[in-house]
Assembly symmetry: C2
Homo-oligomer: 401 residues x 2
Amino acid sequence: MKTKFSRRMHNLHNSYLREIFVSAKAPGTISFAGGLPNPQFFPTEAIAEATAKILKEKGSSLLQYGFTEGYPPLREFIAQRYGTQYGLTVKPEEILITTGSQQGLDLLGKVFLNPGDQMALESPGYLGAILSFSFYEPDFVSVPLLEDGIDIERLGQAFQEHEIKLFYGVTNFQNPSGLTYSEAKRQQVAELLEQYDVFFVEDNPYGELRYSGQDLPPMPYYSRDKAITLGSFSKIASPGFRLGWIFAPPEVIAMATLAKQGADLQSSSFAQGVLYQYLCDNDIEAHIAIIKQAYKAQRDLMIAMVEELFPPEVGLTRPDGGMFLWLTLPEGQSAFDLFYHAVEEGVVFVPGKAFHVDGGGENTLRLSFSNSDQATLETGMQRLAKAVKRLLSDKQSVGQA
Amino acid sequence: MKTKFSRRMHNLHNSYLREIFVSAKAPGTISFAGGLPNPQFFPTEAIAEATAKILKEKGSSLLQYGFTEGYPPLREFIAQRYGTQYGLTVKPEEILITTGSQQGLDLLGKVFLNPGDQMALESPGYLGAILSFSFYEPDFVSVPLLEDGIDIERLGQAFQEHEIKLFYGVTNFQNPSGLTYSEAKRQQVAELLEQYDVFFVEDNPYGELRYSGQDLPPMPYYSRDKAITLGSFSKIASPGFRLGWIFAPPEVIAMATLAKQGADLQSSSFAQGVLYQYLCDNDIEAHIAIIKQAYKAQRDLMIAMVEELFPPEVGLTRPDGGMFLWLTLPEGQSAFDLFYHAVEEGVVFVPGKAFHVDGGGENTLRLSFSNSDQATLETGMQRLAKAVKRLLSDKQSVGQA
């Protein structure tokens, strides 16, 4: 008897990602679950204009097959922007356009990982990455996050004790915790990468959404040989394009391009052309400034409401940017139990356990503040506060019984 | 010392796919290499109108994240069309939207194949599929194609002698050979699939481009349990969208959806929305009829020019549809040698050896007739005829020396 599906399908870590997207679509319920941008800031009209213009000027090539590596002017644009932003000299050959930065994870998993290879992950870590890498059946080694980024001692220990091939992390306003690597931490990580010959896959979808503190360069600034950065247009322009990129040493790009050829030949020429035209005709930096101002207000409001409405024993992170707040319930409490109360109140979030590959995190949860206007955010947080109070009083009465 | 890249990257079969796309872009040279649609028939204006309309009506949802399974109305459209065309009752749950049908290959490889699993392939076979499956390290078992489709005796033998898990083939106007499975052949294949519990991955990007003979239903018509069909909008609307689909039993769709979540979360909401609006506002069947009329004329012209200009010892297929003609040089001749002559004359094609995973096919070549207007096609074929004559006279003089 043949086993129908491949071994990797039986070994997948639990993923709640689909449920997040589904719950985000359910009517009536307020969702702080999915990491969705606020559609209010999608440049819909500018995109319509860009589409009309480039279809008129270059319709035939836009609707035809293109290069696996991506639309050349878009690669050039991305490469040059690293220069403007961080003084990095980047060649287009170091950029591969991907179908969202999620595809970058899949391609790098394919290019680097044999079953049983060891890779280091942040704990808690991004669900989509855990899922993506799981298909290549590595052994995950979890390294805890601290307030200023990865626990560098534990990372060094992991590199020493294990044959780590890749280290995956989100350096800016991490998903799910909201935490950010300090400059010192980035330098220390780069030193470890060089010392132990490990590639760092830096996932950086939120890096441009900083609301406080100082912008820091992506990891290739600190290690050009060993750092790979994944970028995305989803959070600064629109997720609907599904366009991101890998910035990596040329030999890695060459391998990832071969993998991409097998995976989908190329990302949509149409979406790439329209996005490029939009970037040419509009001031993306000004657009990002508008989003940042709004998200900053949403972040501040959500934090203020936790402080005002939630019992003081509920802990929270105070992220400098991004989309997420991370809450910690008192020890022994379960975010899954909270979830059931919350659904009854009409609000959802993601229980933190989902972000831990080797257990733990039962009392943590992730809230997204990006995809809610002020009124929705206030109503949702009031509902969540009720759910938290019900949870804590339930437990107390159980304890007393 | 760590081996940097994964084992699968070292085991890849040679692929000429990238070179095809690159050569298709080189100026001056006429390319019969890439399987590119004729951009003259891209519905550029209608797409511009569809984009403007749907961005105005549904901009926010179009630019937001969507479902991994795809844009629901587009899945519905595809499902219903199988009913209109072939009387098949298909539910949207049996359809997964993919980033081109190429992604369908990758997802199915991921879902089904363990390293060392055996899978059957047509010989010659589609390069992109060979590449895509190679990443999952199966052992390929080649089964020859005959005029009326796969060699059914050899296929049965392969199923009996090997533990075949998947069989991959292109039933209509195959890439590269142009050959088509007869109705009887489809039924025989379905019986073998049921008997030996094998899934057939039917790649069907050209199925709607039939210029002679009778339309035949895709393989799920003959075996609903064991046949998976990959469809594509690339050849009937535009490759620039990078949109295709998998039509498969729901349990396979569920697994492929999980794999897709890891691979790219979803295909572009923007491209899906625009394509759907285009399909609603335009008569796609009338559009396909226009393409078919043009491609039929191009096919007929290319065949006529081979018959008129090429030495009679050069054999050719007479495909009933699709994009490709398959030429066979006299035994002992090399299509690679011909390629060098052809480049000098200013025309390129794909040597047939590339389509054979276990050798052979040295004297064969693939010509694409889809992406050339009449004048280009005539000039290109005159150049190729010169190259063929030079090759054959070179060899004769070598033989005489």
